[in-house]
């Protein structure tokens, strides 16, 4: 273990104290109203939050939580030794950049004003592209994609043909997700062998669940049946044969029950009728992986990763609570979809 890494590990241990506990998260979800939620946040590391009265409050709060997470992540990246820092940059910045690119391309596809696209962008400095504004300047979504030429995303340009063939965005979105997963795996190689397991397990679980959901969704539009190879360029624990079976199946219950743990449990809401629960179960699973990873090696890279994973899931849960409180949703209906209070 390099001295640089040990310092980040110690810092991560210290900063772990800043994270909200499952009990605190539950108390936030249980709060009566948005005002109570914001008041409760004052006693947490989020401190006092001032929200502009004009515009969407939940989106303003979402930005605050994203900002906090980005600050935390930057704090770790700045301290980390080069190889760990490079990996973390790639893992987080690349994922956020991919989300931003998807939002820009979607915006261009539906011809919404640039100002609205800018509003939806996660506030990070561009990672592999020069600037987001330059891509947004493209008149059409095709032009926006073509503006990625010369960047690591230029392979997306080849997915345009498929996108035009089906008059849909999914080929570009799938190509972006694939590119993101491939880049993350590539950047994993910068880490020592012993540190790769945790991230690999997380990325694979995410990709497998995402692939399964895309396959399940395709069942309803079977008339445009696309080939599984076209749709799933990267598969891990759930192979192409299972995904093909999902696309052809009328009974998902049998397919899901035949999967190995944890997938059979994570994906069960698909036939139980509450699809949104899948993502909260996936987050719970990732949280659990990070927790176990940290327990295995309390003085290694796993601690850094666990801190960032906990922090990201905290952000997702807070975004959910903020939206629920803005809409006056009952606490039990919010809690159902959160990951952290599950660990009380």
């Amino acid at each position: 273990m390099s001295p640089g890494l040990s310092y980040v590990v110690v810092r991560s241990h210290a900063m772990m104290a800043d994270l909200l506990t499952p009990e605190q998260m539950r108390a936030l979800a249980d709060g009566e109203s948005l005002e109570v939620f914001v008041e409760q946040l004052v006693d947490t590391p989020y401190g006092e939050i001032s929200i502009a009265t004009d515009g969407d409050t939940s989106i303003a709060l979402e930005k605050v939580f994203y900002q906090k997470f980005i600050e935390r992540m930057k704090g770790i990246v700045d301290l980390a030794p080069t190889e760990v820092g490079d990996f973390l940059l790639s893992y987080y910045y690349l994922r956020f950049e991919v989300i931003n690119l998807k939002r820009i391309i979607r915006g261009k596809y539906s011809s919404i004003p640039t100002s609205q696209i800018v509003e939806s962008i996660i506030p990070i400095t561009p990672y592999k592209v020069e600037s987001y504004e330059e891509i947004m300047e493209g008149e059409t979504f095709q032009e926006a994609v073509r503006r990625l030429e010369g960047t690591p995303y230029e392979s997306l340009i080849s997915s345009l043909a498929l996108s035009e063939k089906y008059d849909a965005l999914w080929p570009v979105e799938i190509a972006l997700s694939y590119l993101s997963a491939r880049e993350i795996f590539k950047s994993l190689e910068r880490l020592p062998q012993s540190d790769r397991g945790l991230v690999r397990r997380i990325v694979q679980a995410e990709a497998d669940v995402e692939n399964f959901l895309v396959a399940a969704k395709q069942r309803s539009s079977r008339e445009s049946a696309h080939s599984p190879e076209e749709m799933f360029p990267a598969t891990f624990g759930i192979g192409l044969d299972i995904l093909s079976e999902v696309m052809a199946s009328d009974d998902l219950r049998t397919v899901i029950q035949g999967l190995n743990p944890p997938y059979n449990e994570i994906l069960a809401p698909l036939y139980e009728g509450d699809v949104a629960l899948i993502r909260s179960r996936l987050r719970q699973h990732i949280y659990d992986i990070a927790k176990r990873g940290r327990a295995v090696d309390d003085f290694g890279f796993n601690v850094v990763m666990a801190y960032l994973i906990f922090s990201e899931i905290e952000k997702d849960d807070l975004v959910g609570i903020a939206w629920g409180k803005t809409q006056g949703i009952a606490a039990e209906d919010i809690l159902k979809y959160l990951a952290i209070p599950f660990f009380i």
Partner: protein, 206 residues
Amino acid sequence: MSATTGVRPTKGYLMEMKRRIGFIERGTEFLKLKRDHLAKELTASIDILKGRRSRLLEELRVAYRSVTAAYISLGPTEVQSQAKSIKTRLELEVLPRSVMGVRYPYIKVEKEPQITGELDITLSEAAEKVLSVLDDILQLAEYESRAERIADELGKTNRKVNALENTIIPSYRGIIKFIQDKLDEESLEELVRMKLIGGALARRRG
């Protein structure tokens, strides 16, 4: 002021009054027919609406739960970004329709949104649930508006029929009776006068 004030007790006026009351009575019959037809239409609309709103509210509750779950799970910005990527939006045309002269709006769905292609499965499920109740919402809105306007017109028609049957027609009948009585009285006076003159002439000759 009495209904007979200003009435000219002439045969011409009597004929005019009889023509008018005939017209009014025919109009009343038509209004009664309209009232019965509107009542039938209203009953049919209410039968269709019966229990529909509560069923729809339950379906909407389920759809709203799915939308809520999608928002909590994906976050509001992502949901809005994905929702905006739907190219074909819902397009409606509101056209006027009429039953017994009562105009009500008829909603024609020009284009339904295509929701399968671009959305995350969570959002796609929520959108499908909302879309499945959309037809019911439109139909309910149409029938509720139809029932409301028919009920309103039924009330007005009923008031008109009652006014005609209980006030206008009796007052016309009163006028006709008054003129007839006057004319009878005048012809009796005329007869007596003729008799008296006839008697006087006979006495003078004799």
